[in-house]
């Protein structure tokens, strides 16, 4: 295993975690619709309890994504988190509220009341995916930072942010906003698909289907223009000597240079569309599995074109040569190699997650089960 292979392997793992995380934001997407899909307390309880059995997976994937990024590409962690400060902080605030909202909402003496905690879930459900989309948008649209390793000599920060807004300027970029909106709508679509699959209440099924239709339409209206923009956009390419140059149609070139990634992307998009078709037209409840797998493939492919084929995955708008790519921002070969050995345990982890998921989900959630459950939200 060469150093370059290890860097790409860890970029793949980080990308896979990103794909899994976006899929798991069905929790946020469903929560953002608690009050629109649930018309009374019993229906809202069903929705909250359906997502409440999965929220820890989403949360844990986010934390592991952060940890894996830190361990494998510490310069990104240092530059983006310390620079685009407010985007990351706002994401964190929204997830803190979510973490307690489930356990506390139905408990007596909870200070903010059941609806108060459900509003926390809605806040997280709307702002979490949107801001994550904005943050990911900077992988393609660039960010305002300068990296200077020699700053360490004086004890100054190795990376500095060229905008006094510290990340809020990224929220104002229209293409970041569009990607943020697309991620939000995707999470809402996946959320409705998940509820359709997980809740055994016939009366709610038409509402879930309608939510899939509306959210999916808004998702496609935002995602397809973003893809068109991406395929025609400039990208930041790394030369063999490490010099960074701006290249026209860089992401289109990447797709063409990486046919497997292109295939992954197309399979992902088709799977998402098939999931929607199955749910809306054939009125089946298994759409989440196709759309979920498709989401993982699509996001994985987008991350791969952002970082592979000599591309800067975190372009600098303030200083082109400061842009981050796999070669200049990763951990040492030794660290990547050590962590690669640990990563052999990932299939085992995935296996027990699948087993646990099935154990909890069979049979799906119903009012009767909820009423008889000893632990409910």
């Amino acid at each position: 295993m060469t150093y370059s292979f290890l860097q790409q392997y860890w970029w793949f793992l980080v990308s896979l975690l990103a794909g899994l995380f976006v899929f798991l934001t069905f929790v946020q997407g469903a929560n953002s619709q608690i009050f629109s899909l649930g018309r009374n307390n019993a229906e809202r309880s069903l929705i909250v309890n359906a997502t409440g059995r999965k929220w820890e997976f989403t949360f844990t994937t986010l934390v592991t994504f952060g940890g894996a990024f830190f361990a494998s590409f510490p310069l990104f962690y240092s530059t983006s988190f310390g620079g685009a400060y407010w985007v990351w902080m706002l994401i964190l605030f929204s997830f803190i509220l979510q973490a307690v909202a489930y356990e506390f909402q139905s408990k007596p003496g909870n200070v903010f009341g059941t609806d108060g905690y459900r509003r926390f879930l809605v806040l997280n459900g709307v702002f979490g995916p949107f801001l994550v989309g904005v943050a990911v948008g900077t992988f393609f649209n660039g960010a305002e930072f300068i990296v200077c390793r020699d700053s360490m000599i004086s004890g100054a920060s190795i990376s500095s942010w060229a905008s006094p807004w510290h990340g809020l300027e990224a929220v104002c970029n229209p293409w970041n906003q569009i990607l943020g909106f697309a991620v939000l709508m995707l999470s809402r679509t996946l959320g409705a698909l998940y509820l359709q699959n997980n809740i055994n209440e016939e009366a709610l099924q038409p509402r879930f289907r309608r939510a899939v239709l509306v959210n999916a339409a808004l998702f496609l209206l935002s995602f397809l223009p973003f893809v068109a923009y991406l395929l025609t956009a400039q990208g930041w390419a790394v030369g063999n000597d490490g010099t960074v140059v701006v290249e026209d149609f860089k992401y289109l070139h990447n797709f063409l240079a990486l046919p497997l990634v292109l295939a992954l992307f197309l399979v992902g998009v088709v799977a998402v569309l098939y999931g929607l078709f199955v749910s809306i037209v054939r009125q089946k409840r298994c759409g989440i599995w196709f759309a979920g797998a498709g989401t993982v493939f699509t996001v994985l492919a987008l991350f791969l074109v952002a970082g592979l084929n000599q591309t800067c995955y975190y372009p600098s708008l303030a200083d082109t040569q400061s842009s981050l790519h796999l070669g200049n921002s990763s951990s040492s070969e030794f660290t990547l190699r050590a962590m690669t050995i640990v990563s052999a345990l990932i299939p085992f982890v995935l296996a027990y997650i699948v087993w646990a998921w099935r154990s909890i989900d069979i049979p799906g959630l119903s009012r009767t089960e909820l009423e008889n459950s000893e632990h409910k939200y």
Binding site: K54, F70, T79, F81, G82, I96, A99, V100, P108
Partner: protein, 490 residues
């Protein structure tokens, strides 16, 4: 100290202190409830099932806030300490990633089975889920304490002048350093003490109220055994920690004792003016006449350590650190234009690179942490911790004599022990973290060179938001807990 540095440290301290309110209860209560569920599975007695379920309910309430406060700490290394993240991210990031892959998913998966699986899993599968939840939390503690121990005693790495960072050379030296083993044992077992005191205090409240008597007495017996095992281990690890700190962080030990001048017969200060002769020498070196350096030895005079090595004064180290920084600056400036001169600068840098971090300090006084805070925190930790051990012993004795119900002073003392065990835990972390100052990583990187390039206004704003949210959550948690305890009918 500049405003940004102060606020960044304050924010990290605030979030860490809040987090440590919830984690020890997760670790300790997890063990107690798992033991109770094991008793249920072995005996088939439904009493133990109901008892385990009640404690699991309180565990769940506490666990949620622990998760919420924990996510902040991981990301704060990037947001507020971005220089730190780059300078040592090659070593420090790996334990965090491994924690996520191995521990967080285990916790997240099996806690869901623990709560929702009572009717869906067999008894044994459910019991396994409960134990695996606690095991996940404990493995998580292992990796985060590996990371923290590395900050106290950095090993297994080397500075790379090309990348301007430290890089890992020996994974096992990092993951299984003696400092990590000791810190893990001391910290996790103090969590067992916290969980045990929590169960005993709640149970004593029932005894005082004359409610749930059988439930309370049997819970106390289980918790007192867990607490006593935790206490014995915690004390053993504490003793080992004293020896380890004497070797690796002598300034922290000197500050914890308020020891200005070193001595071969160093006394242990109980409180100012009351000392036990030779005791500090015994604790720090396991030798009646072992030399323990004082603050002045470390900053100004230098000394000869237990291994017979000469340790330079802080002032000398700072001077050499400045030379290292200067040589490194020359190397970076000349490496492309004048390779020969750059090589000469690199050679000089390599001679002094172990002092690199000292170059960021202005004077030897900078090496001294806040002595009164460390000194009194240490005493509070030991004093309150000892009181808690007495509660376990008394609980076991009264349980053995079947006097738990009647001996009211024990009930009040147990209620008092609850805040005491939390204060002791917080003080332990204050000794560890304030005692390490001015270093973010001992001897390698001072906090002033690790902080992000932010304006203090941004950090102040997020600190206020954290303080507001965490305080609101703490109030909500305490109210929910109290209500759940008040309403429980065994």
């Amino acid at each position: 100290m500049n405003e940004l540095l102060f606020l960044s440290r304050f924010q990290f301290a605030l979030t860490a202190c809040y987090h440590w309110l919830f984690v020890p209860l997760t670790l300790g209560l997890g063990i107690v409830m798992s033991v109770m569920e094991t008793l249920y599975v072995r005996s088939g007695d439904d009493f133990w099932k109901r008892t385990a379920q009640f404690w699991q309910k309180l565990f769940g309430i506490n666990f949620a806030v622990g998760v919420a406060t924990g996510i902040i700490l991981e990301f704060e290394f990037g947001t507020n300490w971005s220089n730190y993240s780059w300078f040592v991210g090659d070593i420090f990031g790996a334990p965090l990633a491994i924690e996520g892959i191995l521990a967080f998913f285990m916790e997240a998966t099996f806690i869901a089975l623990m709560f929702f699986g009572w009717e869906k899993l067999s008894r044994r599968a459910h019991l396994a889920s409960t134990w695996l939840t606690v095991l996940g939390a404990t493995i998580s503690a292992w990796w985060i304490l590996v990371a923290n121990s590395w900050m106290q005693h950095p090993v297994g790495m080397e500075f790379n002048p090309e990348t301007v960072r430290n890089e890992m050379l020996d994974f096992f030296a990092v993951a299984f350093s003696p400092t990590a083993v000791i810190k893990f044992s001391h910290t996790v077992l103090s969590g067992w003490m916290t969980g045990a005191v929590f169960v005993i205090a709640v149970s004593c409240w029932y005894l005082l109220k004359g409610r749930n008597m059988d439930f309370a007495k049997r819970s106390i017996k289980v918790a007192a055994i867990v607490g006593l095992i935790g206490s014995l281990g915690c004390m053993g690890a504490g003793d080992a920690s004293g020896v380890d700190i004497a070797k690796t962080q002598p300034m922290k030990l000197a500050a914890a004792e308020g020891l200005m001048e070193g001595s071969d017969a160093a006394p242990f200060s109980i409180v100012p003016g009351l000392e036990i002769p030779h005791m500090l020498s015994v604790l720090a070196t396991h030798d009646f006449n072992g030399f323990v350096p004082g603050i002045n030895d470390i900053t100004d005079n230098g000394y000869t350590n237990q291994q017979g090595e000469t340790v330079e004064s802080g002032a000398q180290k700072i001077a050499k650190g400045k030379v290292a920084l200067e040589a490194f600056s020359d190397y970076r400036r000349l490496r492309k234009s004048d390779p020969a001169a750059a090589q000469q600068a690199l050679t000089e840098f390599n001679e002094h690179k172990s002092y690199f971090g000292y170059g960021y300090l202005s004077s030897a006084e900078d090496l001294v942490p806040n002595v009164p805070v460390v000194y009194w925190s240490f005493r509070l930790m030991i004093g309150l911790g000892s009181f808690v051990v007495l509660i376990f012993l008394l609980g076991l004795w009264l349980g053995y004599k079947q006097q738990l119900e009647r001996f009211k002073p024990f009930h009040y003392a147990a209620l008092l022990a609850l805040p005491c065990v939390y204060i002791a835990g917080q003080c332990g972390w204050i000794v560890a973290e304030v005692g390490r100052q001015p270093w973010a990583i001992q001897g390698l990187l001072p906090v002033n060179a690790g902080v992000s390039s932010l304006s203090s206004g941004h950090v102040l704003a997020t600190t206020c938001i954290f303080a507001l949210i965490f305080t609101a959550l703490l109030v909500a948690e305490i109210r929910i807990m109290l209500r759940a305890i008040r309403e429980y009918q065994a």
